[in-house]
Amino acid sequence: MTNEVSAAYPEARVTPDNAPMLKRWREAGELVLQHCEGCGKAVFYPRPVCPHCWSDRLVWRPASGKGTVVSFSVIHRGLPAPFDAEAPIGLAEIALEEGISMIARVLVADGEELESGAGVALVGKADAARFPLPTFRIAR
């Protein structure tokens, strides 16, 4: 689906705030997001407190893993190893269906182009374990 991976990616640091998200991604290729039981809003990146209302009643809920590209960059140079071997890399602001934005890598297959407004979805369980954080592809 993209260039072959030549070396291990850096591992995402597991913290008390993000451990459930990283575990779910690694084991099932699914995205879970914090939701605040105080004000009902979704939260990303993971935090110890809701930034909207300061409630600490944050619970993890499955997200659809689908969203829309708001804007993006295609990074050609200045990438650290091993990403430099896979250049160019797509990085996008993605408006998730849960109503919040995330910046994430979007894999682009041969013949595809990133576009603002494009629908994206998680890469799927088979590929998820390769990537340290939830990673997307253009939805077909």
């Binding site: 990616y9 850096p10 591992e11 995402a12 640091r13 913290t15 993000n18 990146y45 930034p51 909207h52 708001v70 804007s71 993006f72 960059s73 295609v74 990074i75 050609h76 140079r77 200045g78 990438l79 650290p80 091993p82 990403f83 896979e86 160019p88 890399i89 990085l91 996008a92 602001e93 919040i100 934005s101 995330m102 910046i103 994430a104 890598r105 603002s116 340290p132 954080l133 990673t135």
Partner: protein, 406 residues
Amino acid sequence: MSQSPSTSRAPARPVSDRAVSDRAVSDRIGIIGYGSSAYEKSPSRSEAGYMAEAARAALASAGLERSAVDGISVSSTTLPPDNAVTLAETFGLSVSWASIGNAGGAGAVVNVFDAVHAIEAGRASHVLCLAGAAQDGAFFRGRIGRFNGSIGDYLAPHGFGGMNGLFGIIQRKHMQTYGTKREQLGRIAVDQRANARRNEAALLRKEMTLEDYLTAPLIADPIRLFDCVMPCSGAEAILVGPLEEAPSGKAVAVRAAAERHNHPLGEVSPLRGGWEVFRDDLYETAGFGPGDLDFVQAYDDYPIMVAIQLEDLGFCAKGEIGPFLAERRMTFDGDLPLNTGGGQLSCGQTGGGGGMIGLTEAVRQLRGEGGARQVAGARRGLVSGYGMVAYGHGLSASAMILERAQ
């Protein structure tokens, strides 16, 4: 502006903003010295070594001895685990006030603002404000993924390649939202380069045309090479003290200043920043507005952020920066002199010193010491800061209005 009133009373803007900017005015305390070290592509000495060179120049420009300094303030993201206190030890200074900033490229403006307040409050009499770094490109690339927690945890593992991709996202959004064109943003880089050609201290002085800008190597589409700053080594210094002590005609007054962090809330790639919150109060406190300024020194990590600062600081309406830039000349002798020494885009980015290069250049201009790039009759100028890039954008915004003291 961004805050929702929690009571039935709904002031036009948060009361705290007024209080902050009103405190900025001091008739007595201001900038009495400034200095810059040499800039180098690779470090030949430590960060403190560059700061020492800038500090010596600042004291010399004030006509004061080292013994006058009893306060020290530093803006640096590369100095820790050292800090303002250990720097005082390195320099052999015993001080009654020491401070280190946390606002990255917005920090130097904040530090000078704080220094004025510290002296007004009697905490010190003369504060040496420093900013800089000893780094090269490889050093910068090595630490950019650990710049702060959210970058390290949620961007670096994607292979985000530093700040270029984040500002590529912001620039593309501005282009698709408002129709801004690279040909328009490029005017910033090209005119600043023309300024740098009259500044022997700038590291990048080769002539640049708009065509050169447009066709430069692609880095993080739509960001190309001349949208990016070159990390380098060097330092800047500002001496804050009693205006009456400055050499005749060399005192620079702080008419207004402000900072704002984490605005707007909840956006990862915003097309605006904290400047829009304090802009009106800033000009009201100064007693004059953008049309009365002789130059602007804006934080230029990328032309798109200069563009957003000019919008938020009221030089044109939001989204209208493209046509605005197309109609103006930003050279030192143009109708909107911008980053008159070439800015970070042509001088290089000395880490936290990138937040002070606009201050030292502003003071240089207001003292009539701009040499081949002197803005004729420069009396008033604005310096803005931007920094602490975290999850998608810089969290910190600052600005200061300076005027040649009479």
